[in-house]
Amino acid sequence: MKIDNKIKDAKINYLLRQGDNALILSQQLSQLCGKGPALEEDMALTNVALDLLGQTRMWYAYAAELEGLGRSEDDLAFLRDARQMRCCLLVEQPNGNYADTMMRQFFFDTWHYFFLKALVSSSDPRVAEIAEKSLKEVTYHLRRSGDLVVRLGDGSVESHAKAQAAADALWMYSGEMFIYDAVDTAMVELGVAPVADSLRADFLEHVAEIFAEATLNMPAADAWMQRGGKKGVHSERLGFILAEMQFLQRAYPGAQW
């Protein structure tokens, strides 16, 4: 019984990590609504944000159901503080310039794509169907962010320099998803989650392929990778993101549509 509870907690934690990743990146992209560098880009950013928000809801709904405490998807999004959020550090990095925004997206999409693709064969049927649904959307996300990295990298002198600077600055946040802790490992043992090694190999291969086409230098694969987000240790930036996202519930607790 005690072991069952431990596994249940790990699974809830794992589901929240996926939901938090999608939510925080969605929130960051939403902040660019009306500020995209071109109309098409503006629409693409918000479309991706919308897909990620939909995915957040599926993860949260399942987490809340397993938890059984009567918390809603909204409760999970709006009533948790930074320390309780389990998103990876990559998604809380600032939007910066457009190369920063797209490089963050490209690293995230590449991981997300291979992760979901593996998750389709999860031993948990509910996880598998969320992955199946999300994967179709994320395939489009990855096509776009890869395309833009090529256009920026193999573009003008200035866009190339900005793309390379973005890659160099964000690289240290691209490894956390592959560094497994006790929660991840418990999920792998249950067959719920995929192992990290093959995911990382696919990630590195795809990034290398796109970077070659983009004429960008790929940072070292064995570079030091920042970590902490999964267990709730974030940069101060997440606090500002939450302050805006959760403003209404903080100012008017319990407000509803």
């Binding site: 629409m43 809801r57 794509y113 649904k133 086409e213």
Partner: protein
């Protein structure tokens, strides 16, 4: 006690009714032609309708769910229950020929590929594989001399194209 309606006959009737419920974003196509309605079933006096979302974040889903209940209650069904089903994930392959024709008449190019098997999109993620060669006909002049402007359009289900002959921009209902 009221006699039970013949379940099969009654279901066919419900499908007909649902065929008159339009998609809120693209009113020329019904939710049945779009492939959103997956099953209709009677459980006693209750009509259970299974629907599947097109995109996970599609804001139209809530409106669609309300329209389904409203339509059936309006036709005298006593009790309606909606089941949201994620798997198998919705695909544009489920769109009917009538639906595709209606889209085209409305100025939206219908999906140009069959996508039941999407493994081709994923194999190895070589860029050439990730971007399948695709010919999209202009819904205005019929030319296949068209070009992608953006993978993402005014709703999650559409991409932006332009026709290189008649020069008109148009929406393309993308394969999914």
């Amino acid at each position: 006690m009221r006699p039970q309606p013949d379940a099969n006959a009654a279901s066919a009737q419900v499908w007909d009714w649902l065929g008159q419920v339009s998609d809120p974003e693209i009113p020329v196509i019904s939710i049945v032609d779009l492939g959103i309605v997956r099953a209709v079933e009677w459980q006693g006096d209750q009509c259970v309708v299974t629907i599947t979302p097109t995109y996970s974040g599609c804001p139209a889903m809530q409106v669609i769910a309300e329209s389904v209940s409203e339509a059936l209650l309006g036709h005298g069904v006593q009790s309606v229950r909606l089941v949201n089903q994620l798997s198998p994930a919705w695909t544009t392959d489920w769109m009917s020929e009538a639906g595709k024709a209606a889209l085209k008449g409305y100025g939206i190019a219908p999906p140009a590929q069959q996508v039941i098997d999407i493994s081709g999109l994923h194999a190895g993620v070589k860029r050439s594989v990730l971007r399948p060669a695709l010919t999209v006909d202009c819904p205005n002049c019929g030319s296949n001399h068209t070009e992608l402007t953006s993978q993402f359009g005014s709703t999650p289900c559409k991409a932006l194209y332009k026709c290189l002959d008649c020069r008109e921009p148009f929406d393309y209902f993308k394969c999914h």
